[in-house]
Every structure is written in structure tokens, then in C-alpha cells.
């Protein structure tokens, strides 16, 4: 059993009680809500005649269903309009802070909360969204919950949960040029598997992690859930503190000093005990692309799609399903796979640094013929910053569409969808069957730089050839 890790410390600090059944009652410091997984929770509160216990500890935004072309109200899609109206109504009724479209702070919930300084070290953070693990990049313990647990957080500010085990993923050395956080996390998921993290929190550590920016760290923690780990985190350091400083909701003045003092004490001890430790050599990671229907089915850009017999017996069943669905032959190169759609955005890679990297790749170049390429900034703030830097113009000049912020084609709940069996190069997080809105659509996950390179060449390309 783990001991003295950051996870243990934050868990123990937030434990309210041991419940009769054997699980723990955990206090949630920050609760984030959006339009998709909250309406039924508010409905359940009403049914049980309950109120929101601490409204100031819940913050809302709207992201999943928002259209990215025309955001004027009412939305063309009646169901989407009904969902945003329900959220607006619930936030007013329960006095919950809501960052709505046009507020300057709307966006994907996991982009918005860090950029507002709401996400802070040592907190427990929950949201009805599996990518809540993103916030672990700040040394908080953050995890996705379902709607019934959203109800419980609203009503009690706590949830019932079993304590997770802790696996440290020690990333040695540094990423080489043209290799990004996205490649590292895809590589980790490939090595460990998509279910290795079940029952675990992942602590990402080591020189390769320390050298990453906060936004890159968010990309890593974001995809913990794709490796099965509900929660992933990184011990906070000076980069963490300076990222938070002066943000809208960050502690100010003497509160800042007090917060800093506490945050600096928050890390896994040198003699912490982990349930498991795994080592990854970051210098060996190549630009990585998924070829299948789970985020674990990936290869380095210069590798071939694995043969069935090269895979462990446990992975063969899904591999066969993936070859068939994706239309790939075992042993085929992933490089040069023709692409139809290029998507840059999502809570994984829709931040300003992602847009900067992609813009650099496409500057003074043109999107390949017959490719639909579009950029969906992660938030209104990201969009504003990009415009100040002239990134929107670079994308538009290259032939990309420049859209309004939202989750967009990461999960295609809005009008942005693949058509038929189109192949997308996507900076998002899931390549599940049908994930991007067409039941036969095919997704190749990769870094934003690789998506940009694919947009220019019209096929899967090694970004390092562009550098």
C-alpha cells in the first residue's frame, strides 16, 4: 500500500469519514460542471428536495454541445439549445458561477479552470468528465465522476470512493526534437496498456516530466484515463506556482504567500512507498500515431502496424477488430496514410502552446487539396491570445478554418463530425469506433505538430521532416 506520496497526503487531508460499507467519504475542493452530465444531477436534487451545499465550490462552463461556427443564440440545434438553457437556469437557481459564451472565460472545462487559476495544488477536483485527470498536472487529485456522483457533490460536497493505489511512472532523459508530450503519453499508454491503470492513480515523475511546461504536463495527465487511470498527477514545482500566479482566481497578496508556503510542502516524500514503479526512457520516444480503435494501439511514425503474432494474446482480439474497422493491413506503414480531415483542438491539445507549435509548422504553407482542416481553440482566452499573436491569420492563410471554442470534433456532440469512413488526423484523446461523429469514421491520434504536418502533406508525415 502506498505511503507518503502526494496522492496519500491529499487523500488523507480530504477524508471526511470511513463509510460503513468500507469506502471513504472524500471532500471535493473544486467541482466543475458542464451542460452534458449535470442536468440529471440537478434533476435528482429536485427529486430528493435537496439544495447545493456549497455553491461557491462549484464552477460551470459550457463546452460539449456548443457549435464552433455560429454561436449565436438560440443554437440551430434545439437539443443543444435546451441543454445550455438548462445549465443557465440551474446555475441561476443554485447561485453557481457560470462562464457562459461571450464571458471571455468560456471554453473546455479542463482548459478554463487552470487558466482562471481555479485549479491549484493539493485540491481534490471532480467533474462529470473523464478528462478531469488533466488538473493533476498542478499536483491536485482530480478525477472524473458520473452524474450520480455529480449529484452527491452538489448535495454534500463529498463522494464515496475507494482509495486508489499509486503507480509512479518515472520518465528518464528528455524528449528529442519534434517529439511532444502527446507522443510521450501515447507511448506510455502503448507500453502499459489501456487497462493497466484501473485501480491506480498515476504519478508522472522524472527528468522528462520536470522539463515539460505546465501545458505539456496537462496533456500528459489528461490522458491518464486512456491508460485506465482515473487520476494522474505531477508533483508541483516552481513552474506550477508561476503558472498560477496572477490568474483571475489565484490567491492574492498575503493569501498568495500563505498558499505558496503550503503548496511547496506538497509533494511525494523522497522515501514514499508506491504500489508500483515503471520506468520509461523518454529519449526513445518517436512521434507517435494511433492506428487502431483504442489509444493504446499506436506506433512510432517509422514503425509498422504490428502483426497479430507480435502482440500479446490479450491484445489480439481488439487488434483484429481494429485492422478491420480501420482498413489497415498488419505490417503496413502508418507513415503516408492518406488523411481527409485535420482537427486541432480538445482538452488534450487545444491550448495556446499547441496552437503556436502547429502554426509554426504551417506558416507560409498551404493545406493539401481536398483536406478539411480546422482549429478549435480550447477557450475564449486561448482564442484571444492566438489572435493577439496573429496565429488565427497564419491558420487562415494556410487554408485552415478558424473556429470558436468548444470540445468540437473530439467527441462530435456538436455539428463538427466526420462523414462516412473519413480518416482524421486529430490532436484529441480518443480513437474509439465512431468517436468523431460518424459510425464508420476513423481517427488517428497524434500531436498538434503532426496534425499540422498531415494537413500540409495530406498524409501521415514525420514532423521532423518539416523542421
Amino acid at each position: 500500500m502506498s505511503k507518503n506520496t502526494l496522492f496519500d497526503k491529499v487523500w488523507d487531508l480530504h477524508k471526511v469519514s470511513s463509510l460503513p460499507g468500507g469506502s471513504d467519504q472524500i471532500f471535493i475542493g473544486l467541482h466543475l460542471i458542464h451542460e452534458v452530465t449535470s442536468p440529471q444531477a440537478f434533476g435528482a436534487l429536485k427529486d430528493k428536495n435537496l439544495r447545493v451545499k456549497f455553491p461557491s465550490r462549484t464552477v460551470a462552463t459550457v463546452d460539449h454541445i456548443v457549435p464552433t461556427d455560429n454561436q449565436s443564440r438560440p443554437f440551430k440545434d434545439n437539443l443543444a439549445e435546451q441543454m445550455i438553457e438548462t445549465l443557465e437556469k440551474n446555475c441561476i437557481e443554485h447561485k453557481i458561477k457560470f462562464f457562459n459564451i461571450g464571458s471571455g472565460n468560456q471554453g473546455i472545462v479542463h482548459v478554463v479552470s487552470p487558466e482562471l487559476g481555479l485549479t491549484q495544488p493539493g485540491m481534490t477536483i471532480a467533474c462529470g468528465d473523464s478528462h478531469t485527470s488533466t488538473h493533476g498536472a498542478f499536483g491536485s487529485i482530480a478525477f472524473g465522476i458520473g452524474t450520480s456522483q455529480v449529484r452527491d457533490v452538489l448535495a454534500t460536497q463529498t463522494i464515496a470512493m475507494n482509495k486508489l493505489k499509486v503507480r509512479q511512472i518515472w520518465c528518464e532523459n528528455k524528449l528529442s526534437n519534434g517529439v511532444y508530450a502527446k507522443d510521450l503519453v501515447l507511448h506510455i499508454i502503448n507500453k502499459l496498456g489501456v487497462k493497466a491503470g484501473v485501480g491506480f492513480a498515476y504519478e508522472f515523475a522524472g527528468p522528462a516530466i520536470n522539463s515539460l511546461s505546465m501545458e505539456e504536463r496537462m496533456t500528459i495527465c489528461n490522458m491518464s484515463i486512456e491508460g485506465g487511470a482515473r487520476c494522474g498527477y505531477i508533483n508541483p514545482d516552481e513552474k506550477t506556482f508561476s503558472y498560477i500566479k496572477n490568474k483571475l482566481c489565484a490567491p492574492k497578496n498575503e493569501n498568495w504567500d500563505e498558499a505558496l508556503l503550503w503548496w511547496k510542502s506538497l509533494k511525494s516524500d523522497a522515501n514514499s512507498i508506491y504500489d508500483d514503479v515503471t520506468k520509461i526512457d523518454a529519449s526513445k520516444v518517436e512521434p507517435t500515431v494511433t492506428w487502431g480503435i483504442t489509444p493504446g494501439q499506436s506506433v512510432g511514425i517509422n514503425q509498422k502496424i504490428p502483426l497479430l503474432e507480435e502482440l500479446s494474446p490479450d491484445d489480439q482480439f481488439v487488434a483484429e477488430e481494429a485492422y478491420e474497422y480501420m482498413g489497415f493491413k498488419p505490417g503496413q506503414s502508418i507513415k503516408d496514410t492518406p488523411i481527409d480531415v485535420c482537427f486541432i483542438g480538445s482538452c488534450t491539445n487545444g491550448r495556446i502552446s499547441d496552437l503556436r507549435v502547429a502554426a509554426k509548422v504551417i506558416k507560409d504553407k498551404k493545406v493539401s487539396q481536398n483536406i478539411k482542416a480546422f482549429v478549435v481553440p480550447g477557450s475564449e482566452k486561448v482564442a484571444k491570445e492566438a489572435k493577439i499573436e496573429g496565429l488565427d491569420k497564419i491558420f487562415l492563410d494556410a487554408g485552415f478554418q478558424w473556429r470558436e471554442p468548444g470540445c468540437s470534433m473530439c467527441l462530435a456532440m456538436n455539428p463538427d463530425k466526420l462523414i462516412g469512413n473519413q480518416v482524421s488526423a486529430s490532436s484529441s484523446n480518443r480513437n474509439f469506433k465512431g468517436r468523431q461523429g460518424s459510425p464508420t469514421g476513423r481517427t488517428l491520434l497524434m500531436s498538434p505538430a503532426m496534425v499540422a504536418a498531415a494537413a500540409i502533406s495530406g498524409k501521415v508525415t514525420d514532423i521532423r521532416d518539416f523542421m
Binding site: V16, S17, L19, P20, G21, G22, S23, Q25, G29, V36, T37, P39, Q40, G43, K48, K53, F54, H64, D77, L79, Q82, M83, Q120, G122, M123, G128, G144, I145, G146, T147, S148, Q149, R151, D152, A155, T156, Q157, I159, A160, N162, K195, V198, G199, I225, G228, E258, A259, I293, T294, F317, V318, L411, A412, M413, R430, F432, K433, G434, R435, P439
Partner: protein
Amino acid sequence: MIKKFQTPVGPISKIVGKSIVLIGDDIDTDRIIPARFLKCVNFDNLGQSVFEDDRKNLKGKHPFDLESNKGSSILIVNSNFGCGSSREHAPQALLRWGIRAIIGESFAEIFYCNCIAIGIPCFTLPKKLVKNIQENKNLNNSLCEINIKESTFKSTFFNFDLEIKTSSKNMFLSGEWDATSTLLANKKLIEKKLNDLPYTKF
């Protein structure tokens, strides 16, 4: 007359019904309920859309469309079932289709918790045993009974022991799986915690 859907309530100790087999590893929640069906403010109509895309693709041959599986309530799956999105819509869709318990090699974490929270017990079994059950031709014709306290599965053709986390078992037997009232009972402790946490003062 259409029977009104009843959500589970109170202590759950027994599940009786037919079993339905669904083969496949890493079946994600996007497949269980595609994202377009999440555009709703209640869960009421999700049952009919469960596995929508997979079912369309198999043109009536999907296990959830087979006549022989109609009215089944115990779902037998493979490994990492329910991975991906935290959408509770996935177990809610299964529940509304008629599923009351799931037996599998392993479950994704958030899916498993969502199942507990809505009253669907999930049990695990070793891979080989799951395979044996899934391949048994007589499964379909047999009424099965899961006893949560004993953690047993009984049917005309075979009986075996099931595995379930002790905390989950206790929650189903006591009714505590519907957690809100249990959590609310510690009102004073919750308020104390809020005041004791360093960052609530920042």
C-alpha cells in the same frame, strides 16, 4: 400497456433473469451509447439507443437485437468493459434496456463506480471461466440467479462463485449504493472539513 420503468431502490441482494452474452475487449462507453444520444436532460429514452451503431452495423444480429436475448437482465462481458468517457448515460442505457447485473473479466474504473451508483452490481471472473460461460449454448435457455451475499451464480446448467469488492457488496446489501443520504448524515464532519482545509481560506 407499456410497463413504467422502475429504477432500482433500496438494498439489492438477488438478481434473477436470463443472461445475455456480449463478446469483446475494451468496449468503450462511446459504443455503449454514442455521444449524439447524450443530448438530453434526462436518461429516460436511452434504453432503445444502447449500442446503436454496433447494432445498425450488425443488422439485427447484435446480441441486443436477438429475439432469444429479449428480457435478459444479466450481461456477460469480457475485459475492460466500459472504458473511456465518464458518461453515466452508458450504464443508464443498459439499465433501461433491462440489464440488472454485469459479469466480466474486468471493468473500467469510472464505469464500475457509475454502475454501483445506479444499482447495477458488477462481478468479475477469470478470463477462462468467462469464456466457458460465453460459449455455453444452453445459457440462453436457463434462468440464472445471482446471490450477492453469497457471491454465487446459479443456473440449471452451471453454478460458480463470483468475485465482488467487499465494499461494493456491502453497499448493495445495505442499500448504501444510493449514497446521498449516507454522505449527508455526516453534515457536521463535512462542515468541519471545509473549515479545516488550508485552501478554503485563500
